[in-house]
């Protein structure tokens, strides 16, 4: 079967839904959202805790409530979507994708613009090469969350958590409330990787200890997890001999980071940002592939869904403009770079048009910085814009909406974060 749409959005989670809403509000009506699972909403559906929407809606929502704001918009406006449908491939040359589902079979779809919003994956035990056996009982925090919040089952009652990522912290509290014994959390870095509010509300309030500079060095049990060995690590993050401690547990939850599920776009020939592992994008969030945009956690991992929505609105708006108004000629391309205190910076390039609107910059710092200045410099090192920020943390992405940069006068842009 062959079909065609103006805009196809791959992913029906927070990014895809926000992008769809924005594209629709910007006048594009022929949209198709393709979602792999059996519901719209993505991971929000299993995030039954609150804390979502404070920035975007100025109210505190649960994950499903946040998702419902968008899902109801999609349904009210009859924006088409496919569920239980997997996209196999993107062919940028022919502006086609292939997907399959039970109703249509293996199908080719033509698009004018595409937004890639496929989300991220959790890192696994295999990826960090945690030594030991491979029994049942070792779960990524997100999978255990799904089993608990969607299916109504605990995967164990004596729980240890590796990594202080937010899902792990949220699950520490959640399992504790369900009567599980949450023994502790180990974080290999000397600082937490989760949001501060989650450390306080999920660990401190429940007396769950957080061990920094500590990691799991052995998994015990052949069929079912019987325990773990944890060890302190040195400054190079190598385990310190003699610091081992055995902990009896039936569950090890991993909250050791997320990474963009960007393989399909990469395989389609899109340039990859080696720092984020997501796509290389311009300020409109268009990738190196013609008319293909990327946003949300598949572009770079966010810590707040509100920021996913804000970013995805940019992709949706610009995809709509591209389809409705055609491609505009730009004068030049300015490449961006960052200094050693930052782990990445988006966008990777800025296309300079007659009229340039606000540009959304996103980055993370590598180490906590309590008082910082953020400098925007041209190719000669001249400061063209400056911000001051406090309490920058690696776990909290910074987004800056910057207007009135003198883009016509510069040829490259470097963003620097400096501790004051």
């Amino acid at each position: 079967m062959n079909r065609a749409v103006d805009l196809v959005i791959i992913g029906g989670g927070s990014a895809g839904l926000s992008a769809a809403k924005s594209a629709y509000e910007n006048g594009l009506k022929d949209i198709l959202i393709i979602e792999r699972s059996s519901e719209l909403g993505g991971i929000l559906n299993q995030c039954i805790h609150n804390g979502f929407g404070l920035h975007k809606f100025k109210e505190e929502l649960t994950g499903p409530e946040y998702a419902y704001k968008y899902i109801s918009f999609i349904k009210e406006n009859n924006i088409p979507y496919l569920l239980d449908t997997l996209v196999y491939s993107i062919s940028p040359k022919n502006k086609e994708i292939t997907y399959s589902n039970s109703e249509e079979g293996y199908t080719t779809l033509k698009y004018k613009a595409l937004i890639f919003a496929a989300g991220c994956n959790e890192r696994t035990q295999g990826q960090i090469m945690t030594p030991g056996e491979r029994p049942n009982g070792v779960f990524t925090a997100g999978l255990a969350q799904r089993y608990l919040n969607i299916d109504g089952y605990l995967v164990g009652k004596n729980v240890y958590i590796l990594g202080s990522g937010d899902i792990g912290l949220i699950m520490a509290r959640r399992m504790k409330l369900e009567g599980a014994n949450v023994i502790g959390v180990s974080e290999i870095m000397p600082y937490s990787n989760g949001l501060n509010r989650n450390i306080v509300q999920c660990l401190n309030d429940f007396n769950i200890p957080l061990r920094l500079h500590n990691t799991v060095t052995k998994i015990h049990g052949k069929n079912q997890l019987e325990g773990i060995t944890i060890s302190d690590v040195d400054d190079d993050l190598n385990p310190i001999k003699g610091s081992e401690e055995f902990i009896k547990c039936d569950t090890l939850l991993l909250s050791i980071g997320l990474y963009p599920f960007n393989a399909m776009l990469k395989n389609s020939g899109a340039k990859v940002n080696l720092e984020t592992k997501g796509a290389y994008v311009d300020q409109n969030l268009e990738t190196s592939l013609d008319s293909i945009f990327s946003c949300g956690n598949v572009l770079h991992v966010h810590d707040l869904v509100d920021y996913v929505s804000l970013e995805s609105e940019i992709a949706g708006k610009n995809a709509a403009k591209l389809v409705l108004e055609g491609r505009k000629i730009y004068d030049k391309v300015i490449l961006t770079s960052h200094n050693e205190n930052m782990s990445y910076l988006l966008p990777n390039e800025i296309k300079v048009y007659d009229s340039v609107e606000n540009i959304l910059f996103s980055f993370r710092v590598k180490k906590p910085i309590s008082k910082a200045e953020i400098l925007f410099k041209d190719e000669n090192g001249n400061i063209i814009e400056k911000f001051n920020k406090v309490d920058l943390l690696p776990s909290e992405m910074v987004q800056l909406n910057v207007s009135d940069l003198p883009l016509n006068d510069i040829n490259s842009l470097k963003v620097e974060v400096r501790a004051l």
């Binding site: 079979g105 994956n121 030594p131 799904r146 605990l154 995967v155």
Partner: protein, 485 residues
């Protein structure tokens, strides 16, 4: 404890559902025979057969005249057709045994002589040709032995397919059946085999228990050999680039050891390893130091292995016998008790030949007739990834569940999972589905699809979702209902 007494007297009872036991079962099913295989785990292919290098060795390496040499060469010749008949992934990718200096070159020339005696094709390759064949090799790789008949196979699918085909042809399978005692009735010569819950009676026994073969043998006589398990740790990379390495790369053996191999797998993942350490029989753990050593040694073959693509590390244990050769023989004290022990590398390559040989022995001893209904062909496994668009759509039209993809990393559909459950020797566990179809084998290691696979298993097996296990009894995934339930 009262045992379920099986009324049947089996012609043959095979203990052990590894690749050897399952191969023997399959070749035995060529005859009119009432046979059963007992496996202590909840699935076949759970120990030695499931964690190895997955190589069909060409056969140049074993010492001429040994059983290893004989069965390796025979098995290698049989494997391609076996995999065709059983629809098992097999790629004849050839191997390169790589030398780094003059001493290695000498060894390689000796190995080529040995290959001649074993009847195996082997050719000396100079540096230029070598680097043309494998552009990612380390510059220091100097020369190689090229064995074009070396191949790779999916060890899970081969073992499972052997058992499924055996069952299609009438052999029975009893899982979760750990043998705890064996007695021979002196009056009629029948063997009584006791598991934790059953008693079986059989005219002949095959001991194909891998790591435990000396222990199983000791239930009935003093073993003439001892198994000293050795552990091999591996690193597995994702299928990030189908051309990264094409051949199986071995290192030329030296006095220090055999080095490690780097090889593609049949799914275009890359396997790096193994280490080689004496170990406890139950120990399949990996450790930091060994994995780092493997990385260091492998860098001699390929400089920039992208370890960011690692999806799993694992270890397998090998039934290393103190005799240094395979043990394939009938017991002298206990007639019709066949020991097939010490089958470590090149055991996988040898498996069809050993299965054929042992089943022929049993046929002669028991005077079995040919099974005229024997069908060596296993019903095809529909793999979406290998079907063309039109065939795929035909399939979805017939059965829409094939259009619903469950495992997005490896592109495995609901239809494939349902089929894998309902076949003979079907999947019962999360790991069972993983071994048969690769669902959960990819980069996300099941974080996304495990829950969906679990629900399909429960539905198809008609049990509650909290009954579904990861592998053996005790590994139920959904342990406790939440307060809200």
């Amino acid at each position: 404890m009262s045992l379920n007494k099986n009324k049947d007297v089996f012609d043959c009872l095979i203990i052990g559902g590894g690749v050897i036991g399952c191969s023997i079962a399959r070749y035995l099913s060529r005859f009119n025979i009432n046979a059963i295989l007992l496996e202590k785990h909840s699935d076949v292919c759970e120990e030695v057969s499931s964690a190895n290098s997955a190589i069909v060795h060409s056969g140049y390496d074993p010492k001429p005249g040994t059983l290893k040499a004989k069965f390796n060469v025979l098995g290698n010749k049989m494997m391609e057709q076996v995999c065709k008949d059983l629809d098992v992934p097999y790629i004849k990718n050839g191997s390169l045994t790589i030398g780094f200096n003059g001493d290695d070159k000498k060894t390689i020339l000796e190995l080529i002589e040995r290959a001649k005696i074993n009847g195996v094709k082997a050719r000396f390759i100079e540096k230029d040709e070598l680097h043309n064949m494998e552009p990612n090799l380390n510059e220091e790789c100097l020369c190689a032995l090229y064995a074009e008949d070396s191949a790779i196979v999916s060890p899970f699918e081969l073992t499972i397919a052997f058992m499924e085909n055996a069952m299609d042809n009438g052999v029975k399978l009893s899982l979760d059946s750990e043998v705890i005692n064996i007695e021979r009735d002196i009056d009629n010569g029948l063997y009584h085999v006791y598991t934790n819950k059953d008693e079986f009676i059989a005219k002949s026994l095959v001991n194909a228990t891998g790591l435990y073969s000396d222990k199983i043998l000791s239930l009935i006589e003093k073993p003439s050999y001892k198994i000293n398990p050795r552990k091999g740790e591996y690193i597995l990379l994702d299928h990030f680039n189908a051309n990264f390495v094409k051949h199986t790369l071995f290192m030329c053996p030296t006095k220090v050891g055999k080095g490690v191999l780097v090889s593609p797998t049949t799914s275009y993942n890359y396997i790096i390893g193994p280490s080689n350490e004496l170990t406890d029989i139950e120990d399949t753990s990996t450790d930091f130091e060994t994995l780092n050593e493997i990385k260091e040694v492998a860098s001699k073959l390929i400089k920039n292995i992208p370890y960011g693509e690692v999806i799993r590390t694992f270890a397998g244990t090998r039934p290393n016998p103190d005799t240094d050769d395979f043990i394939i023989e009938e017991s002298k004290e206990n007639p019709l008790f066949f020991n097939v022990g010490g089958i470590m590398s090149p055991g996988l390559a040898s498996s069809p030949a050993i299965g054929e040989y042992v089943s022929n022995l049993i046929k002669e001893k028991l005077n079995l007739s040919e099974n005229l209904d024997y069908n060596p062909i296993r019903r095809k496994v529909f793999k979406l990834t290998s079907l063309g668009k039109d065939k795929y759509n035909e399939l979805i039209k017939k059965d829409p569940t094939y259009g619903h993809i469950i495992c997005r990393c490896e592109k495995v559909s609901e239809g494939e999972i349902i089929d894998s459950i309902h076949r003979n020797c079907g999947a019962r566990t999360i790991k069972g589905v993983k071994k048969r179809l690769r669902a959960g084998f990819g980069k996300c290691q099941g974080c996304f699809c495990q829950e969906e696979v679990l629900k399909i298993l429960a539905r198809e097996l008609n049990v509650d979702i909290n009954q579904i296990r990861y592998k053996d009894e005790g590994s139920e995934i959904l342990k406790y209902p939440s307060k809200g339930e």
